[in-house]
């Protein structure tokens, strides 16, 4: 499933896609325009996921849309995006990107997904599709990700309408049993999974007594959710033999190692960019190499899944 070339030390091959390093920009973080995505790649990301794109454009929620708690962020962007047709302009500009470009999409119905699948099939720039069924603050989306039946059905619909591109399903931790959802995704035809999206949360402004976020609920990200995300990755990879992208609270090389040891093939990085800036990719790469060398590992593959061995 995974091939590693040892020369680069950090490069990984997942779903037949070559990632120069396992540090991928997470969905919804900066991924709205081609020039900015290119800059993220130039900054050292091993791959990028776009903002989640729907069939139609969405304005998202009014401000305030983000709260910084120090140990994590709570956001309720509400999936703002220009809609697939307009986003194609950006994707056209991204042809020839040096790292895999993963298009994140969401849909409110299987009909929408069908239409989107057909359009995306023709997009050369797109290396893989990440299906977001897990945004906790947009009604109609999180509900999909909580139901094994819906997840399976949505994934199957996408699979049937998408030619030649692997499907990654991004899972929500806001469920009783993430493994059963993961299994449903795989049964529907998912080639890989991303765990996790944000944890459903809330912040109250005590001066006014009102929910602080205009969207009332938000999603918790950053360090606060790292132990939850690790548990999810571990639970899934304990049962299923499917590539899992670890996501949630990655800020340092140590975090990356934890995720790989828990069974992830690579990680996605979001909130850390607020604290460490875009240089987070290059810096973690260097720290990662140093760690592997120090410990005498010849590749990330040697580290992967270590926590499962007893």
């Amino acid at each position: 499933m995974i091939n590693r070339k040892y020369n680069g030390f950090l490069d990984v091959e997942i779903l037949n896609l070559k990632f120069p390093n396992p540090l991928i920009l997470a969905a919804g973080i900066l991924g709205l325009t081609a020039p900015l995505l290119k800059r993220v790649v130039y900054s050292g990301a091993g791959g990028v996921v776009t903002k989640s794109i729907g069939l139609k454009s969405r304005e998202g929620y009014p401000n305030p849309t983000i709260v910084d708690l120090g140990y994590g962020l709570v956001n309720s962007m509400g999936l703002p995006n220009p809609g697939l047709k307009m986003f194609i302009e950006e994707l056209e500009e991204l042809k020839g990107l040096k790292v895999p470009l993963i298009l994140s999409i969401y849909a409110f119905s299987e009909e929408e997904l069908m239409t989107m699948g057909k359009i995306i099939s023709k997009l050369k720039a797109v290396s893989a599709v990440e299906l977001n069924v897990s945004c906790p603050h947009v009604g109609g989306i999180s509900e999909i990700g909580k139901s094994p039946e819906l997840v399976k059905s949505y994934v199957k619909t996408l699979k049937d309408n998408l030619s030649n591109k692997p499907i990654i399903v991004k899972l929500t931790p806001n469920v009783s049993d993430i493994t059963s959802i993961a299994m449903a995704a795989v049964n529907g035809g998912a080639d890989a999974l991303t765990a996790i999206n944000t944890v459903k949360s809330m912040v109250i402004d005590i001066e006014t007594g009102k929910p602080l976020l205009a969207g009332v609920f938000g999603g918790l990200s950053g360090p606060a959710i790292k132990p939850i995300a690790l548990r999810c990755v571990y639970e899934i990879t304990e049962t299923l033999d499917v590539p899992v992208f670890g996501c949630g609270g990655v800020e340092t090389a140590r975090d990356v190692i934890e995720f790989i040891m828990a069974g992830a093939v690579a990680v996605q990085i979001g909130s850390a960019i607020a604290r460490r800036g875009l240089r987070v990719f290059r810096e973690i790469s260097i720290e990662l190499k140093r760690f592997l060398e120090l410990k005498g590992f010849k590749s990330l593959e040697e580290v992967r899944g270590l926590a499962h061995r007893r």
Binding site: I29, P35, P62, D68, M86
Partner: protein
């Protein structure tokens, strides 16, 4: 932590003109702000919007042009009312010495005033070019007169005050004719104006620092709402210099709405 929303109380309100008001407040973090930095200002129940810090000191301020719902709500604030701020955000202007020009359009002056004060204090020679739509839109002309030791040029679209015409054109005419040896051009205003000013400055080999605007949500560089070329206005900017400005082909041509769609300017 600057990212935590904190309430501030309106200490005074100054009506600058029929549509611009300045709100003074005390805040420790703003006290240490650099000219050109901005705040995310939350008017509870309405919206959270970016506003430049228009005064840095024991009393700080934001200066707000009434253009829509949030700015109208701000204009209703009275002394003793509260609003929330987080920040200061962004890089702010780099201050240098020597001979500089300020080219401002309308409310763009808000971001530039603290800079002018600082540059003046450090004995720069400062020429100011400032454009308004009309005489009734003008503000801070007296303030500027007090601060600068160079030339003050005012223009209005209708000629009701100063020269008639766009300030970018007035500026272009001046530098072409007199070829002043500016060490830096600082500019803030409508994007079309900035585009023009920057292009003219390139021809003259001037160094430019332009403070730009874009739709903002997070203010901390992760949501991508505020992108302009390969940059985030909130955290790579809002002040950009020549190399960066060159990479923003869309500057003054289109901006992006909350949904990321391109809106022609």
């Amino acid at each position: 932590m600057k990212n935590v929303r904190r309430p501030v109380e309106v200490e005074a309100v100054v009506e600058e003109n029929f549509k611009i008001k300045t709100f003074l407040f005390k805040d420790k973090l703003c006290f240490k702000a650099r000219p050109g930095q901005f705040l995310m200002v939350w008017i509870v129940g309405v919206d959270e919007i970016p506003l430049s810090i228009s005064r840095i000191g024991d009393l700080c301020s934001v200066t707000v042009a009434k253009v829509g719902e949030a700015t109208e709500a701000m204009h209703r604030l009275k002394v003793g009312d509260r609003f929330y701020i987080r920040g200061p955000y962004g890089n702010g202007f780099r201050e240098g010495g020597g001979y500089v020009a300020i080219v401002a359009g309308g409310i763009g002056l808000a971001a530039l005033l603290p800079l002018v004060e600082r540059l003046n204090a450090s004995n720069c020679k400062i020429d100011v070019f400032i454009g308004f739509r009309s005489k009734s839109d003008a503000f801070w002309v007296d303030k500027l007169t007090g601060f600068i030791n160079g030339k003050l040029t005012i223009s209005t679209d209708d000629g009701s005050l100063g020269v008639k015409g766009l300030i970018s054109e007035v500026f272009r005419g001046y530098v072409k004719n007199f070829k002043p040896r500016y060490d830096m051009i600082y500019t803030c205003g409508p994007p079309a104006m900035i585009r023009q000013v920057f292009q003219d400055c390139k021809k003259m080999n001037y160094k430019v620092q332009a403070s730009l605007e874009a739709y903002m949500r997070c203010g901390i560089g992760i949501c991508g709402s505020c992108c302009l070329g390969p940059y985030r206005v909130c955290s790579d900017g809002p002040v950009f210099s020549n190399n960066q400005l060159t990479k923003m082909s869309e500057l003054g041509i289109y901006k992006r709405g909350p949904d990321g769609l391109k809106i022609p300017i």
